[in-house]
Subunit: 150 residues, 2 copies
């Protein structure tokens, strides 16, 4: 049985709930010549942007630094929020101390304290979509050009 489609306002609330409470997100990136990559990463949402950290020399780290675009997936495959974002790459000592502390408390690891060189990646959403089943494909767009539509 398929539930009635949610309103866009409800989908925005559900998406913001996930951004605030979920621990991990699927991160899809691509090399400049078109090789796809994807891994789950921990993240912290401050209401405006997602903060993530990954090794500078990992596939994701290299892809995001080179292309500055990412597509993120929250939730399970029949209840998803998809986020297309712009990426800012930051050296690991470039954030205020308390911002890094907040990430470490939330993610359960501190990328500033590791032997492997890490970078911060700050993702600003440009487009957000959310849907569960086929009956929610209409109205799935919640944000366009960085602005919430509802």
């Amino acid at each position: 049985m398929t539930a009635d489609p949610r309103s866009r306002a409800q989908r925005r609330r559900d998406t913001e709930h996930r951004l605030t409470h979920d621990e991990d997100i699927w991160v899809a990136s691509a090399s400049a010549d078109g090789a796809p990559y994807m891994v789950p990463l921990s993240f912290d949402w401050d209401g405006q942007a997602l903060l993530m950290a990954t090794p500078t020399d990992s596939s994701t780290g290299r892809n995001l630094a080179a292309t500055r675009v990412v597509r993120l997936g929250l939730g399970h495959t029949r209840d998803v929020s998809m986020i297309d974002g712009e990426v800012e790459a930051l050296e690991i000592d470039a954030l205020p101390l308390e911002r890094g502390d907040r990430f470490a408390a939330r993610a359960g690891f501190d990328p500033r304290a590791l032997a492997t060189p890490y970078r911060w990646f700050r993702v600003s959403p440009r487009r957000i979509q959310a849907w569960r089943e086929v009956n929610e494909l209409t109205d799935r767009e919640l944000m366009r050009d960085g602005r919430w539509l509802v």
Copy 2:
């Protein structure tokens, strides 16, 4: 609390269980110039390859036809199997009737019967990795160059 790491043989069994029983998989693709894309799609596993269907003119359909490489994610973000695969693009009337019927029964939709033009995409795994938490990052590789290591 983190469980003890699974053996690679156990991870292969868990991955094949997911391939046989899960309905959807995260599909990460990229355009030839490096724009990442990702959506969940239904799939059917025949023991050798995954069969998927998506509109010819969708982002995923165009990316896979152009680049012939894909990265797939099964499971949730703290219990994943990742599959790097080679992609074969097939016209929608190119499969034996019973193969399409099997897909339709499993996926809950028949891409041969839709007004929108669809293609089949057959994915042959080349590399498979599986891990839950950090203590499973060692031994995460289960298949390399298309051959199971365990």
